[in-house]
Symmetry: C2
């Protein structure tokens, strides 16, 4: 059973005691009366990050993953808390110094501050991060409308290529190695876009599990389907080259996770303002598909107009 | 190096970017402008709870431990988030059902609601709980005044006796076993006292690590000392009997952790109102000592007026 199905089955009823909150179907908690938005996530070595050889990069990756949950909902992150469990080596003075330096850099970059947390001893390394922001309004999950355009920011797949290189499944030259590994560790979040999202996005999610599975999550309680145009899904020049070089498929990269780009839907009438925003902020925003009626089956279309079968819908935290 | 020393050394500077917050020396984060109070804690099997044979009780214990951080500061808890990591057995449908039932009972008892969280796979069982409340004001750490009286709610040591029985270090009869194990798993929090604390407490902390070590934490940045009267430290009739039966020392029980009673200091002029509050709420509040000048050494005094040497100051999460 998938993580969100598990949670849904046993715990979603518990959250309904409080009528002002969104239910557990969403990635963030929103208390409208107190303007409070909260995201809580756990990151485990071997699941959410490959290893702890580069604590400075790992800590940036997971912190960005956490605040990304707020940013994609139109909420500026303000505070964060880290609870870390690990052994003496993970929390050695050298590593703590590196972690502290990284956090300082991220605080400056994203204008956030550490407000608490704790460290406990465990032979398994994990972190739990709580991120908090304040907003009158958020972009909700499960609020797509029929005929909405589907958009995505930035490029997809670079992070997954980085992971494959780190895992030595793909071998490549120094330049590609540096480029993709950086994309894996340091996803580029679009803080500037945050507040703008509220003015045009009907619904949004950040791509952590993968394009297809996150898109399905985005509309999972709605009687809707989607049509995605593979050709329109943006990838970097470097990934294009790598895919050609290694004779791989674009689909296998873009449907994997860890991109932390923003996937959102908007009314077709919003097309102009989205284009303008994209240009003025210097952030690529690509129209990649359409929200359709539930009478159609969801599909991914290749450049010849043919339907593509998706083998792996992305990454789930399976139990 | 102790947990809070570690945190202090590497991370306390990071939190000073934000002037409205307390620094990491406190157990809770307080954003006065947004009236937000947050506590984040991690609970690890073998460290914070003995095992997971009774998921229904463990989950209550750790949730109470988390909201206790707010309650002892004069803040009514409102929301909580749980991030759990464990294996298939820990999150089996049977256990999830038990956890869910326990949470439901706690929500009713303490008027709180689950607002999110996640579950991830790990061979080491741990939970991270974020508790949130709203308040204009909180009772601060490190705000004791010279000549303040030191008070504590309820009885101390029952929980530690429960742990010793669970660990089979103490063997006893069925009645004692039930009584003390219940005290270990289900600390009695004084939600009714919460708001009243703001009117008389200068500083406060909940007893999680143990009376002596928590008292030292409470005044650790101040040039103050304390005098504790062992005879005045309240213990239950059952613990009195157990101690006599097993020929043990009172001090070894009351200086251990997991009591989740509230330790606070107050001006001597508040004595009457504290007595009245104690009576009207039906909550035992005992005067157990005095805040003294730093020119004196902190001391624990027995009934004959003799100084007692403390071997173990309580429980630290050592690295």
């Amino acid at each position: 059973m998938h993580e969100f199905q598990l949670i849904k089955k046993y715990f979603s009823k518990l959250s309904q005691y409080n009528s002002s909150s969104l239910n557990l179907n969403d990635d963030v908690f929103f208390d409208k009366a107190n303007k409070l938005v909260v995201s809580v996530d756990t990151y485990i070595q071997g699941v959410h990050f490959i290893n702890f050889k580069k604590p400075n990069l790992v800590i940036k990756k997971i912190l960005r993953s956490s605040i990304s949950d707020l940013i994609c909902k139109g909420v500026v992150p303000k505070y964060y808390f880290i609870a870390g469990s690990g052994n003496k080596e993970t929390f050695s003075p050298t590593n703590l110094k590196k972690i502290s330096k990284s956090l300082k850099e991220e605080q400056k970059k994203y204008n956030i501050s550490l407000c608490g947390g704790d460290t406990v001893f465990s032979d398994k390394l994990s972190f739990s991060i709580t991120s908090i922001g304040f907003s009158h309004r958020i972009v909700k999950r499960n609020n797509a409308k029929l005929n909405d355009d589907i958009y995505v920011t930035g490029n997809l797949g670079d992070s997954f290529a980085g992971l494959k290189i780190l895992k030595k499944i793909i071998t490549t030259n120094r330049y590609f190695k540096d480029f993709f590994e950086k994309k894996y560790y340091l996803p580029n979040l679009h803080l500037k876009l945050t507040k703008k999202l509220l003015s045009f996005a009907n619904t949004s999610i950040d791509l952590s599990d993968g394009l297809i599975s996150d898109l399905e999550k985005l509309i999972n309680k709605q009687k809707l389907s989607y049509k995605l145009y593979l050709e329109s899904v943006p990838i970097s020049k470097n990934l294009k080259k790598l895919i050609a070089l290694k004779k791989m498929n674009k689909i296998s990269f873009i449907s994997k996770g860890d991109d932390y780009q923003i996937l959102f839907t908007a009314r077709p009438t919003k097309s102009r303002i989205i284009e303008k925003t994209s240009k003025s902020l210097g952030i690529n925003i690509s129209k990649i598909g359409k929200i359709c009626s539930s009478s159609l089956k969801s599909q991914v279309i290749d450049k010849k107009g043919k339907k593509i079968a998706i083998k792996s819908k992305g990454y789930y935290h399976n139990f």
